[in-house]
């Protein structure tokens, strides 16, 4: 899975969960959005698995400097991704997923840390790319493939 797709999936999932939490549903059964919530959460799980590794490959392939600083932050990203994964998978094994449950998942500091990590690293990658390459092709979350090469 490409980094672009991973980022979009995670952000879309969180956006959907915000909407789901506001609906006051007692369960994920019997409603359209209820049917979708597990789908969104499963997509997020897939996007989170190997997320930090994808960024590591991208940083390595792009030769971003200094690598140790990137690695240190990607270690943080990896921890937050694993923590978020644990929270989402815990929700997924529940027989019923209520809006209240999702509201608490949305409030989870682990998910919020992950999202802000993604925003930060994405912005950093774009900035580094623009500084290193005067050809103004913005990349980062949206322009990196799984192997780290540019797709543009």
């Amino acid at each position: 899975m490409e980094i672009e797709e991973r980022c979009n999936t995670i952000e879309e999932g969180y956006e959907f969960m915000l909407a789901y939490a506001a609906q006051g549903l007692p369960s994920d059964e019997g409603s359209r959005s209820g049917g979708e919530v597990r789908e969104f959460l499963n997509r997020m799980v897939n996007a989170l698995n190997g997320l930090a590794e994808s960024y590591e490959t991208a940083v390595w392939n792009e030769g971003l400097e200094p690598p140790e600083k990137y690695q240190a932050f990607l270690d943080v990203l990896d921890r937050d991704a694993r923590d978020s994964l644990a929270a989402i998978e815990l929700v997924l094994v529940q027989p019923a997923i209520s809006s209240q449950l999702v509201d608490n998942l949305n409030a989870s500091i682990h998910l919020r840390a992950l999202l802000t990590d993604l925003f930060l690293v994405d912005e950093l990658l774009k900035t580094q790319s623009q500084a290193a390459d005067l050809v103004a092709i913005p990349f980062g979350c949206e322009r990196l493939t799984h192997s780290g090469g540019r797709t543009a």
Partner: protein, 61 residues
């Protein structure tokens, strides 16, 4: 291919950041509000009325 800098992507991130930062601000406000309410309700704490009354009686004695 979509771009991370498209208005939709940017607005979504802005929205999510607003949710994260906004709820933190609300939580802080609730904390302060609850603290002041708690202090305002001190005489209604369990046993507080009895204690005050008891102290008054002791003062009279």
């Amino acid at each position: 291919m979509t771009n991370g800098d498209t208005p939709k992507a940017v607005s979504r991130r802005t929205f999510i950041k607003g949710v994260i930062a906004g709820s933190a601000a609300v939580a802080s406000a609730n904390y302060l509000f609850r603290a002041s309410t708690f202090l305002g309700q001190q005489p209604q704490q369990p046993g507080s009325s009895t204690r005050v009354h008891h102290q008054k009686l002791q003062a009279k004695g």
